[in-house]
Symmetry: none
Subunit: 194 residues, 4 copies
DNA sequence: CACTAATCGAGACGGTACGTCTCGTCTTCGC
DNA sequence: GCGAAGACGAGACGTACCGTCTCGATTAGTG
C-alpha cells in the first residue's frame, strides 16, 4: 500500500525522460491534452514510475516547468525600479507567450479545481516573486518614490494583475512591448497629473 | 445524423430542471466535478435531452450562470464615475466570492483549453462589459477627468486585472471592501501626488 | 392512458406504407437491424402511428410476412401424400431461402425471448399447418399407408424438423431439391428394407 | 487503437467472475436480458475487462456455456448404436431443458443475425458432434445396419432435427423420454414394415 | 356544410445500454 | 526493489433506440 519509495534507487534517466516528455507533449498539444499515459509512453517508462514519484500530472509538469523557467524568476536590481520592473514584466510576458506558456496556462487552469496544486503554485512561484518585489517596492516607499498608504503586496498585484488578466481572459493580446507603458500607467495613475 | 432539433417543441420544464441541477451540482462539488450524466440524473432528464440543446457541459453551466448573474452585468451610471465603478467592482467581487464563483472559476479554467468556450466567454461576458466601461471612461477622458494618452480598453484592464488576479491566483483574499481603494489607487497612481 | 384506437378511422395509406417499409428494411438489412424508428422514417409516418396499431416491431413484421406468404400456407391435396408433402416442403424451403426468409429467421429468433411472439407464431403459423398435415397423415394411417403407432403430430415434426434444423443451424445448405429425398427417407427409415 | 492484449497477464480471477456472472444472469433472466454492463457489475469487474477479451456478449456466454456442457459433448460408443444415440439425445435434451437451455436458446437466436456467432457455433459445437456421429453412422452403414444411399450427414440431421424443432418452435414439449422412440421411428421409418 | 373528434406526421421526452476512453492502482516479469 | 509493460476496477463519454408524450394539421363521419 502507500509505501514510500527509496529515492536513492531512483533512476535519473527515467526522471529526465519523463520531464522531457512532459514538456514536449505539453508544448505540442496543450496541458489539458497531456495524459500520464502519454508521458509514460513517450518517455519509454511505466506509468507506475511516474505515479511513484509524482502524485498527479500537474506535479510533473510543474516540476518540468520550474526547471526551465529559472531565469524568469531572477529579479534584477540596477537601482532603477521602473526599468527593473519593466525587464521583469517583459520576461514574464515572454514566458507566457512562449512555448512553455501553454503549460503554464494549463497549470493555472488546473489549480482552479485543485487546491493542492494552487497552494504549490503560490508557494513555489507566486509568493517568492511577490515577496521579492514587495521588498523592492518597500525600499522605494521608504525613499519617498512610492506612496506609503498602499500596501506593497497590493502594488505588486496592481502591476501583475493586468498582465494575467490579458493572458487568461484574452480580450486583447499580451505584448512584451506594453510592459513599460503599463508600469508608467500604474505608477502615475489614470488621472491627469498637473 | 446531426439533425437540428425544433426549439418550438422544447420542454421548458426540462430546460429549467437542467439549468437548476447544473448550478446545484456546480456550487456543491465544483465545476470540474460536474458531469453531464450527473446533471441529467439530478434533473430527472435523459442525457440526450442535454446533448440535444447544449454541445458540452461548459455550455450548460455558462447559460445557467448567465441567467443568474444578470445584475452583475448592469453598468450603473449615476454621473459619479468612481462611485459607479466601485459599485460594479463590488458586484463582480460579490459574484466571484459567492456560490456561483465556483462555477465561474471553472468556466474560466476550462476556457484555457477550449478556444470555443473562451470565445463565447469573451463574446457574451467580457466584451460587452468592457465596451460599456470603455464608453464611460471615454466620456471621462473627454471631460478631462482621465488621461487622454491611455487607451480606454487598457484602463478597463488596469481596473479589473487585479481583481481577477487575486481571484484566480489567490495570493491574497478578494474582498468587496477593497473595491474603492483599488479604484483610487489606479486613478491616482502609486507615486505620491504633490 | 392505454386508450384503444378506433379502427374505422385508421389510415389505410399509413398501414400500407408501414408494412411495405418493414419488409423493405427487413429484407435489406435483416430483422434484427430493423428499428421501429427506421420503419416510421421510411414509411413517412410518426412512430406513434406504428405503436398505435402494433405492440412491437415483431408484430409489424409478422403481419407483413403473413400478408406475403399466403401461398406457402396452402396444403395441396392431390391424393398422392408423398407428392403433396414434397410440394409443401419445396414451398416452405423456397420461402425460407427467399427474401422473406431473412425476416422469418428473425421472427423465429425473436420468439426465443418473447413468449408472446412465440405464441402468436405457433397460433397463426405452425399449429394450423401442423393440424392440416396431421389430418392428412391420419388419413394415410387409416389407409394403412403409415404406421399407426406413431402420433401424427410427431410425424409432422419428423418431416419438418430436419428442414428447420438446416435452416436455423446451417451446417448444410437447405435446397428445395432435397425435399423428395427427405420425405422418402423419413417414410422408409434409415434401416435397409428387405 | 485496437491493441491486442497480452494473455499472459490476464487475470484468472476476473475471467472466472465474468463467466460465472454471465451464467447466473443468463439462467436467471434469459439470454436477451443479459447486458455486458450487468455482467461487469455482478462480476465486480470493469466493462473494459470484458471487452478486452471478448468481442460481444454472445462470445462470453458461448465460452461460459462450453465450459459447463462438456459431458453433453461426449459421444459414447458401447457398440450398440441405437442405445448410444439414445443416451446422447437424452443428454442433449437434458441440456436444452436445463438451466443452461435458456442461454443456449439465446445463442441460437442471436446467431440468426450474427454470422460470426453462427460460424463459431457451428465450428465449436455442431460440426464436431456431427462429425463424430457421422463416423459412427458410417460404421453402421458399412456393417449393413443402415442404408448406404443416405448421406450420413443427412442421417444426423434427421435424428437431431426434430429435437431442435420442438425446442425452438415449441409446438410440443421436449421430453428426454421421447429419445428412444424418436430414434426407432427414424430408423424404421413411418411406413409399416412388413 | 360546419362541427368535432380522433388519427396523422413529427419529434422531444425519460430512460437503458452500448462500446470507447482515460484515470490511478495493481500485477507480472526482468534486471 | 526499481523499472517497463500493461491489465485491472471504476466510471463518464456521446450515440442509438426504446416506448411514451405532446404538438398542430388533416381528415373523417355527425348534426
Amino acid at each position: 500500500m502507500g509505501r514510500t519509495p527509496n529515492p536513492d534507487l531512483r533512476s535519473a534517466r527515467a526522471r529526465r525522460a519523463i520531464l522531457d516528455a512532459a514538456v514536449e507533449l505539453g508544448t505540442r498539444d496543450g496541458y489539458a491534452q497531456v495524459t500520464v499515459e502519454a508521458i509514460a509512453a513517450r518517455a519509454g517508462v511505466g506509468k507506475q514510475t511516474i505515479y511513484r514519484w509524482w502524485p498527479r500530472k500537474s506535479a510533473v509538469l510543474l516540476e518540468a516547468l520550474n526547471e526551465r523557467s529559472g531565469p524568469a524568476a531572477e529579479v534584477p536590481d540596477t537601482g532603477d525600479l521602473a526599468a527593473d520592473l519593466g525587464r521583469q514584466l517583459r520576461m514574464v510576458i515572454g514566458l507566457l507567450n512562449g512555448d512553455l506558456g501553454l503549460i503554464w496556462r494549463g497549470l493555472l487552469a488546473d489549480a482552479q479545481s485543485d487546491a493542492c496544486l494552487a497552494q504549490e503554485l503560490r508557494d513555489n512561484f507566486f509568493t517568492p516573486r511577490l515577496r521579492r518585489w514587495r521588498d523592492r517596492l518597500e525600499t522605494a516607499v521608504a525613499a519617498g518614490e512610492l506612496r506609503a498608504d498602499v500596501p506593497s503586496a497590493t502594488m505588486v498585484e496592481l502591476l501583475f494583475g493586468p498582465v494575467y488578466y490579458r493572458y487568461l481572459i484574452g480580450t486583447s493580446p499580451l505584448d512584451a512591448d506594453d510592459a513599460e507603458a503599463l508600469i508608467e500607467q500604474i505608477f502615475n495613475g489614470l488621472r491627469p497629473r498637473p
